[in-house]
Symmetry: C2
Subunit: 309 residues, 2 copies
């Protein structure tokens, strides 16, 4: 199975209002709710691609119960979340019906105690034994040490399980130094890590810092992958119109599934870009449009750049 | 016991953010959560005053479970909520830390089925038998007939239980026609009911429509009560600075407790205004400041207006 780790799981709530006006009262016309947090999004896409996936991380309180109930409805997905006393956070996306513009409100997440963090590490160690790959995704809840991902990367490497890291800031900086197989920063995260806004230079710097392969997601320009096997660019055929929520998580699912299927890098990248574009095109935020994915899969331009490697 | 009815219960969530900016992302610095809906607020104040209170209405889903768990912590309060399949709504108050300004997002509430509405009416009928007074509070969730409060007022009167109605719009219009003992509209609700923005005229009109007593809450100006025993004004000593959330519900609790204690109208009104002012002054929205209440209780000016009666 593929293991995805979401330390800061969330119940993602979407509200529709006519137009958000600060300091006034709004009647919400539509409420939707789904399990969230980057690793859970990755897991759903992997399950939809036919992979067996186990999700771990933390869940607690009534929001955590709600999240776990909703996960039981996801075929191919095994829930190995570790219970904690604090409540799982909510994120609220307030969408203006008229313009489609979104205002985001993110709760910080529960305070994790040292004992809960220790319990998670034990569970993680057990799960690694039957994992073909692991993705470490998203922000850290309060109480989890900033070097958490570095430790989880080292444990995966000690267990000979390929590990992908998708986070930001100091947890990314420390995690990269622990030598993960793949990091997938977006342009901002990559610039924050390396100090360079030039993806060609920045991906090289990120590899020097410890990452074996760096796959940078550059929005509409697709992916730039610097790997031990070469340097590639993969781009969708033209601009996709829609909601980019979850597009990065779908790219991670594409990279991981390609990894466990032993696909060469160009095919992994094509799959990641097609899934990402099909997520932007989907009517529901964070889902991917399967027809669009299948139509796009053979239309992704992947080019190798031997000179800049 | 005193019975309070909250058909559209809510989990009231308060978020603190630095300043709400539409179409951007916000990290919530503080999350608080409490059982909400006007009838539950009234019940909490009654319980704090030492009355035995039973709460009924609807609760459902994980939000409903959370609400009921939080109610078990309220001393003096008995939970007789009727379970429904739809989830209890949330209300979110986003408070700007800098200015204290609040942006409100209110979910619509669960769709109530005809069978659930019938189950509620049966429960209500049973509870009326041991009630000394009943308060019908707040909006109706989807699916409940617009004449709901009219029916509940008639049932209370048939059981000889004094009934107070605190709602708005068409449910208020129909409810008033069923001859409740007290209605407690605010200035806007009263104007909507009667077409008059002149409280002296509007309260007279509301009595003609069927209410035995009309107690209009006029914000900082206090209460105007038109009753079979006379016409009174009750006002706090000067402007109160603070959060008016729940001030109207505290006034209802003051009126109801005064009713079951057989206090004369001036004392009921003084208590209602003191509780209301002590709610504005409390640091937590919807709570009342007991010290402020006790200090204010003897300082409320109640004046009878014999000429305008």
């Amino acid at each position: 199975m593929i293991l995805t780790v979401t330390l800061n799981t969330a119940v993602d709530i979407t509200y529709r209002v006519r137009a958000l006006r600060p300091h006034s009262s709004h009647r919400v016309s539509e409420v939707t709710e789904r399990p969230g947090g980057k690793g859970l999004n990755v897991a759903r896409v992997l399950a939809a691609l036919g992979h067996r996936v186990t999700v771990t991380g933390f869940s607690g309180g009534v929001t955590g119960r709600s999240l776990r109930e909703q996960l039981t409805g996801c075929a191919g997905l095994v829930d190995a979340l570790v219970p904690v006393s604090g409540p799982t956070r909510r994120t609220i996306a307030v969408v203006d019906t008229a313009s489609g513009d979104t205002t985001q409100l993110n709760e910080p997440g529960p305070e994790i105690t040292p004992a809960e963090w220790a319990a998670f590490q034990e569970t993680y160690g057990h799960l690694l034994r039957s994992a073909s790959a692991v993705a470490l995704c998203g922000s850290l809840p309060p109480g989890v040490p900033v070097g958490a991902y570095a430790g989880l990367v080292r444990a995966a490497r000690a267990a000979a399980v390929p590990v992908l890291l998708d986070t930001s800031g100091e947890p990314l900086r420390r995690g990269v130094a622990a030598r993960p197989d793949i990091v997938k920063p977006n342009a901002d995260e990559l610039a924050e890590l390396t100090g360079s806004h030039e993806p060609l230079l920045a991906t090289r710097d990120a590899r020097r810092r410890g990452a074996h392969a760096v796959v940078a997601s550059l929005g509409a320009r697709g992916l730039l992958a610097r790997t031990p096997e070469g340097l590639w660019r993969a781009a969708p055929p033209g601009q996709m119109r829609g909601n980019p929520t979850g597009a990065g998580d779908s790219a991670v699912a594409g990279l991981l599934s390609g990894l466990v299927e032993n696909l060469p890098w160009p095919e992994r990248l094509a799959r990641a870009v097609a899934l990402s574009a099909a997520t932007v095109l989907a009517p529901v935020a964070g889902e991917f449009d399967r027809q669009a994915y299948e139509a796009l899969a053979n239309r992704i331009a992947v080019t190798e750049d031997a000179t800049a490697a």
